[in-house]
Symmetry: C2
Subunit: 254 residues, 2 copies
């Protein structure tokens, strides 16, 4: 049995464009080209197409399918397992996404019915969301999920007063850092005051304080561009200055 593009396309339930594209990228070439330039496919091509579509349904890329089909020695089992891992990653991502969308919907629905009442809860949630969005991966990698979840929970438990104190303290850290930076001395009184304010600020989110963790965080402020940007808005180099001050403050500067 021989097939033209359209016949084969109908048989397989795909478009003729797809067949031409598969020819173009060399994943499925017709058995022959007739005198008019038409593509003619035979049984072997039908079988190969079946296989292509089978892997395609599994979400394997055409490039990978080409590898799998072209070399019989190719370890298709390994390829499939790697593919499964990627799919599982995507599933985890997707589940997270859905959870977030649900959270957002719930939040919005709440906001709509009580738009004038408890906006504050939204602010705290937003703070957490923003943090997660910007720093989530690094922080969770560094401190583990449990610590981060605890910190987020701690924020949600803050009263409005406490929350505003925390915000003020955050601003104080920046102000103190600016003053201290002008002195140029991370061991000086002003810089040590900034480091102390920073420790106090941490208390709002950290479950327990340790000098090592404090110093580690300071180092991260320097290593990660986005953290650095936050403190460098004071002055370029301020993040590094703060780190030095905290290293001295915590006695970790050896």
């Amino acid at each position: 049995m021989e097939y033209t593009v359209q016949k084969l396309a109908q048989l397989a339930g795909i478009s003729t464009r797809t067949l031409r594209y598969y020819d173009e990228i060399g994943i499925l070439k017709p058995a022959r080209i007739n005198s008019s330039g038409y593509r003619i496919y035979g049984q072997a091509e039908v079988d190969r197409l079946q296989q292509i579509l089978f892997y395609r349904e599994l979400g394997v890329s055409l490039a990978s399918i080409k590898d799998i089909l072209n070399s019989p020695s190719f370890d298709s089992l390994k390829a499939l397992k790697e593919h499964r891992d990627r799919l599982l990653d995507r599933k985890r991502q997707l589940d997270l996404l859905i959870a977030n969308v649900n959270k957002t919907i719930a939040l919005k629905e709440g906001r709509i019915t009580m738009t004038d009442q408890e906006k504050f809860a939204g602010f705290k949630q937003k703070l957490i969301d923003d943090n997660e969005r910007k720093y989530g991966k690094e922080i969770r990698a560094k401190y583990g999920d449990e610590a981060v979840n605890k910190a987020n929970q701690k924020i949600l438990n803050l009263t409005e007063e406490q929350y505003q104190e925390m915000q003020k303290l955050g601003a104080s850290v920046l102000a103190a850092l600016k003053e201290a930076y002008a002195t140029g001395d991370p061991a000086g009184e002003l810089a040590q005051k900034a480091a102390d304010l920073h420790r106090q600020w941490l208390a709002y989110t950290w479950d327990s304080y340790s000098k090592a963790a404090h110093a580690g965080l300071a180092q991260m402020y320097v290593d990660d561009a986005r953290f650095r940007a936050y403190y460098d808005q004071v002055q370029p180099g301020a993040a590094e200055f703060l780190r030095d001050a905290i290293l001295i403050y915590t006695g970790m500067n050896k």
Copy 2:
């Protein structure tokens, strides 16, 4: 506080290219352009970018984000819910995919360890997989999941002999159809024999036979391009001929 592209990009943890792209598609325009043509962003733009990135993390397309942010009257809640539905669809798809990949891996692993023993099981599985891939949606829509699962199970329960009989019978249907088609008479003896063979062939997968279901299947052979292609490989128009023969055979031709 004012930001150039790079400053804002660092703050937000994105690339400068992304900011220029957002400017280009009009989703985030800078507050102003300075005398040198530099983009300058202000606080309002930072806030807007936060929102953009928030929705982006939820997997919302930039076009939709634009709609959401540009018109405050836009029903963002509804948009989010629709978005969630799409995500849930993707999740179902993905779960199916993963299940299939797992099945394939298990099958391949089985094949590898007993490559010379029970290849036959693989053939039956392949038959089912191919059917599912090609006709699954239509058949399940028409007959329901339960009937299809039962049919698949029935195939898996076939002995090798039975399976080969079924294959032979399938070929007989095609051969009989070809002969009958030449007569041009769907009520003729040959055509009725083809219809009868077709009924016998169905017995291998159908749990119970009914004339109405048989006739309905025949109609689907005509209505769906891919089914039609299967029988039209005998002769163009063969699917329609078979349908007519079956309608007469089942007495549903009123």
